[in-house]
């Protein structure tokens, strides 16, 4: 599906704004291989997936789709347009009571189709003082459903200082997305062990300055 001109302009505008205003850049992005990728990052603001997505090189960016909550992004026409047209988001229903499709399967099909996804394993925005919320099991089930996919841990540096919760005016600080080495679920690895290993890999990236 080719993007419409307004959607392309919005994409170009977002990437240019991020590059110019907050000097956004990717640090240590592992060179892409043949395997589809699940980019997992910390989640503190609505701007997170825009930052991660904008930090990727263009060809990589065009085949990367953010996974987001349908309850938030289906709520108004403008949000629907942004989610579907601009970011080609993979919307999943987070409420087990109302959903008709299995969210893991929805995302797995995108990966099997050869596209990459951005996934926030905390499941929701982290509005606490902790650096990382306990990871939800969704990422483990997804990794098991698509064993060929590689999981690339990432940390979005400084975005929580640029736009802290409750603030409406961003301050321009330098922002960067730091990537770690890809990991996979190892044979016989339990869910707890895997989630712990992933959380440690993410937190290890958070110590460095932008």
């Amino acid at each position: 599906m080719t993007a419409t001109i307004p959607a392309r302009l919005t994409r170009a505008g977002l990437v240019a704004t991020a590059r110019i205003l907050i000097s956004l850049r990717a640090i240590d992005l592992p060179p892409p291989g043949a395997a589809p990728r699940i980019l997992v990052a910390n989640h503190v603001s609505h701007a997170d997936f825009v930052a991660l997505w904008s930090a990727l090189p263009k060809p990589h960016r065009l085949r990367t789709r953010p996974v987001a909550g349908a309850d938030y992004w289906e709520r108004s026409a403008i949000r629907r347009w942004i989610a579907h047209q601009v970011f080609r988001a993979v919307l999943i229903d987070r409420d087990p009571a109302s959903r008709r499709a299995d969210p893991v399967e929805t995302v797995a099909q995108v990966l099997r189709g050869g596209e990459d996804v951005i996934f926030f394993p905390e499941g929701t925005r982290n509005l606490t003082d902790a650096r990382l919320l306990p990871l939800k099991s969704g990422i483990y089930h997804l990794a098991r459903a698509v064993p060929e996919a590689e999981i690339v841990p990432a940390w979005i540096l400084n975005l929580d200082r640029i736009l802290p919760k409750g603030a409406f005016l961003p301050v321009p600080l330098n922002c960067a997305v730091r990537f770690g080495n890809p990991i996979r679920v190892e044979t016989g690895e339990s869910r707890e062990d895997f989630l712990q290993r992933l959380a440690a890999a993410m937190l290890a990236l958070s110590d460095t300055k932008a």
Partner: protein, 312 residues
């Protein structure tokens, strides 16, 4: 067409001629294999960045005082961004930082541009110093309070107040001086930046004794002396385009390069303490904008005061 025949225009013609020469020499050194690997890449990056920086400066000098003031306002913005990025400021400092970026910074440059020197001199050292911590006080977070408010104030002093002295030189109308103050801005930037480059060159070629090993692993006594003296000689050679006598030009050049060098050391100490090598990545091969601007930051106010007291 005057602006293409002004002394500052000829300074730029000279610089472009020099850049052509430098690019040819660098190409020869890299092609012949005398310089290789990461050093060659860094040399090529640095020269390319100089082309861009001198090109932009030449353009804004052609456009006039408004363009120069706006350019340095943008430099302040980028510099303050680099400074604030590596400070301890946290969520509770967000409002203070927003006021620094969106209110104080533009106001400072408006005061400079519309020639309100008294308020331009007081806004940051007095009023922002007294009032900006108040915004942080009402957030109620006292942990690291002095550190956090001092860092914001330091950022404003270094990145906004000091940098705004460069366009402020343009507002001086020096009696019995044939040329405009543009020439003096060009002279200052040329002498101070030449001192930086020449210190690097002298240091690489004959540098033996480290000046301050714990602060900067590359600055040497020989590099410092050679760079400052040769930049001073350059400043003296340009005496005809200044309102100074030859020995006055020498003393002033020595003073501004001295302050520039000390500024570089102070900024290095801040970087070292915060565990970063460069302030940012804005200027290819050089690091951040503060890595290029640090010496001008500390010399511009002194140069302005010398002119205001001695030649007005």
């Amino acid at each position: 067409m005057d602006r293409f025949y002004s002394p500052s225009a000829f300074v730029f013609y000279g610089l472009f001629a020099f850049l052509v020469l430098a690019s040819l020499v660098a190409r020869f050194l890299i092609r012949s294999g005398r310089v290789g690997g990461p050093t060659a890449q860094n040399l090529a990056d640095r020269i390319r960045a100089w082309w861009v920086m001198i090109g932009v400066l030449a353009l804004i000098f052609t456009l006039g005082a408004g363009a120069i003031t706006l350019f340095f306002a943008l430099c302040s913005m980028a510099a303050l961004r680099e400074f604030a990025t590596i400070t301890h400021t946290r969520r509770d400092d967000h409002d203070g930082l927003a006021i620094a970026f969106y209110l104080i910074l533009p106001l400072q440059y408006l005061l400079v541009y519309f020639e309100v020197p008294v308020f331009a001199a007081l806004l940051i050292p007095v009023y922002s110093f007294l009032l900006l911590p108040v915004v942080t006080v009402f957030k109620g977070e006292v942990q690291g309070f002095l550190t956090r408010v001092s860092e914001t104030q330091w950022g404003l002093m270094v990145c906004v107040y000091c940098v705004s002295h460069i366009p402020a030189i343009l507002t001086l109308d020096i009696p019995f001086y044939r040329y405009s103050a543009f020439t003096l801005v060009a002279w200052l930037i040329l002498v101070v930046q030449a001192s930086d480059v020449l210190q690097y060159v002298w240091g690489k070629s004959i540098g033996r004794h480290l000046l301050a090993p714990r602060v900067s692993p590359s600055k040497t006594v020989e590099g410092l002396a050679g760079g400052m003296l040769s930049a001073t000689a350059l400043g003296m050679a340009l005496t005809p385009i200044t309102p100074f006598l030859w020995w006055e030009a020498g003393l002033i050049a020595l003073t501004v390069t001295g302050f520039g060098t000390l500024g570089g050391l102070i900024m290095s100490a801040i970087k070292r303490d915060r565990g970063v090598k460069d302030w940012g990545t804005l200027v290819q091969g050089h690091g951040g904008i503060l890595d290029r601007l640090d010496s001008l930051v500390f010399s511009a106010p002194v140069f302005l005061h010398i002119l205001a007291w001695g030649w007005m």
